[in-house]
């Protein structure tokens, strides 16, 4: 298998809504940035991997040939890869495989999604429109008709049973995760929110699904993110700072098949991480990673991710928060970009953005947000709103 590197990234500010641009415009803008950073044009691209998670949100089924046209990549091989809100990790896996296999040398990876063109006219709310619009992403036979929302799903299947089995995390620890992410977002010019909050603010916000409160839930946004991936030979031509994707894996593990053993666990994250660690040669993640980016769809899933990624024992994730391990300046800072809670979130793009931010950190180009590098490795993890689609990638600078 050939080595694969990221040689250019293109990210945009997170906004709750880009009224000025259509999804095609966002996709093109991110692509232009990534191509420029890589020093190539669209004509140099062999293959395009599209990460577009939700067609109903775009008001367009089969959007990828339309994006191919707009990109000017007529005639290239391409593929749209989906995996729910974790689709960008599934797409990254495919993009890496495309090069590792020898089938392509230069892949443009383009993640895009508009979340906010929905609108509910009777309550005059975009938020209500979005939640109604993507409600059929839940199992329409067995879950959607009885489901109040995504945070309740994650709370009932993952968080509550975890607390009952393992004694943690506490509400205060989850609130601290939100406070941490808001603080990290404050210094990220691309983040959607620039506010400082307190633990009391988080605990006093609406109970969405006890013990998950509104400020423990992620934002929703419009966003696009592009990356140029290249084979080893091509990467060394294009840049002196290639960032290698040294491990990537996904795991589809349905949380809906609930049993005494499965509830309260993100088995899919654990399995994907094991495979990614094996590919990257990592045996002791807390010592071998400089930073992580995980999906804080709710603050609880961030803490569960620390555990399933093997940074600590089950039930001990809250301790990593209390002891500052995952804070900025700590041993393995988590969600330096501000996380999905404060930086922004939309399915199929968030983890791509997180990957691009780790690339920036590993290239030591993060300016005032630069974290200290020891091993030169970072990890990205993503889950979807069911916790059933999971992806993990390891990024590494040249030794």
């Amino acid at each position: 298998m050939r080595r694969v590197a990221i040689v250019g990234t293109g990210t945009l500010p997170w906004k709750s809504r880009y009224a000025e641009q259509t999804w095609r415009d966002l996709g093109l803008e991110a692509s232009k940035k990534a191509l420029a950073q890589a020093g190539i044009t669209a004509k140099d691209v062999d293959h395009v991997t599209h990460s577009i998670y939700c067609e109903t949100m775009l008001r367009q089924q089969i959007p990828e040939p339309l994006m191919q046209d707009y990109l000017g990549t007529q005639g290239t091989s391409s593929g749209r890869v989906t995996g729910g809100a974790a689709g960008d990790m599934y797409a990254l896996q495919a993009a890496v495989a495309q090069i590792a296999s020898g089938m392509s040398d230069v892949v443009l990876f383009l993640a895009l999604q508009k979340g906010q063109d929905f609108y509910k006219f009777d309550t005059r709310s975009r938020g209500d429109g979005i939640l109604h619009g993507f409600s059929i992403s839940m199992d329409t036979t067995w879950l959607q008709p009885i489901m109040p929302g995504v945070p309740p799903y994650l709370t009932a299947f993952l968080l509550q049973p975890h607390i009952e089995k393992f004694g943690g995390p506490t509400m205060e620890q989850m609130a601290k995760v939100s406070v941490k992410n808001y603080e990290n977002a404050f210094d990220n010019p691309e983040a959607q929110l620039h506010r400082k909050i307190t633990v009391d603010d988080v605990l006093g916000s609406r109970i969405i699904s006890w013990p998950t409160t509104a400020m423990m839930c992620c934002l929703y946004s419009d966003q696009a993110c592009a990356m140029v991936l290249a084979s080893e030979d091509k990467a060394k031509e294009l840049t002196d700072k290639p960032i290698w994707v040294s491990g990537v894996s996904t795991s589809s593990y349905s949380t809906a098949r609930a049993t005494a053993d499965s509830i309260g666990r993100m088995h899919g994250t654990r399995l994907a991480a094991q495979r990614a660690y094996k590919m990257a040669g990592i045996t002791n993640p807390i010592e071998e990673l400089d930073m992580i980016q995980v999906h804080d769809l709710i603050a609880g899933t961030e803490i569960l991710a620390y555990e399933e990624l093997g940074l600590c024992e089950l039930g001990q994730g809250g301790r990593l928060v209390d002891e500052g391990v995952v804070m900025r300046g700590g041993k393995v800072p988590s969600n330096l970009d501000g996380g999905r809670i404060a930086c922004g979130h939309v399915g199929g793009v968030s983890a791509a953005y997180a990957t691009a931010k780790i690339v920036e950190q590993l290239r030591e180009e993060a300016g005032p947000r630069q974290t200290r590098l020891r091993s030169g490795r970072g990890l990205v993890q993503a889950i979807d709103g069911h916790g059933s689609m999971n992806g993990v990638a390891i990024l590494q600078r040249e030794a």
Binding site: D122, T123, R124, G127, R195, D201, G204, S205, R206, I207, W210, T213, A214, M215
Partner: protein
């Protein structure tokens, strides 16, 4: 005191375009009943909020609560759901989901708003 807090907020909301739009979509009357027997009524009509002491006419929604605690909700310190979860607020007439819409209106001018 709750009356004053609500009346001051009404002045603010009636001048705010975002609030007026939400209030237009919520033409309801709410009676707030305290445990000491006193009550006040909040009415939304033609996109404007009015507050008056006393039970008012037949309301769409009746909320039984402790006025000091409810004032914290009005001031943006605490969401209605915490009061309900701990038994300090009950909706005895109308839909609980209308409390979500009311909370949204009450908080629209506050930092962070409400969903």
């Amino acid at each position: 005191m709750l009356n004053e807090t609500l009346s001051a907020l009404a002045l603010q909301l009636n001048e705010n375009r975002g609030a007026r739009s939400l209030m237009e979509a919520f033409p309801k009357t709410i009676r707030v009943e305290a445990d000491d027997g006193s009550s006040l009524n909040i009415s939304f009509a033609s996109g404007r909020m009015a507050v008056a002491q006393g039970p008012g006419g037949e309301p769409d929604i009746i909320v039984q609560t402790q006025p000091l605690e409810f004032a914290r909700v009005v001031r943006g310190e605490l969401d209605y759901s915490h009061l309900m979860a701990h038994g300090t607020l009950r909706v005895t007439k109308g839909k609980v989901s209308d409390m979500v819409l009311l909370n949204r209106i009450l908080w629209i001018t506050k930092r962070g708003g409400a969903t």
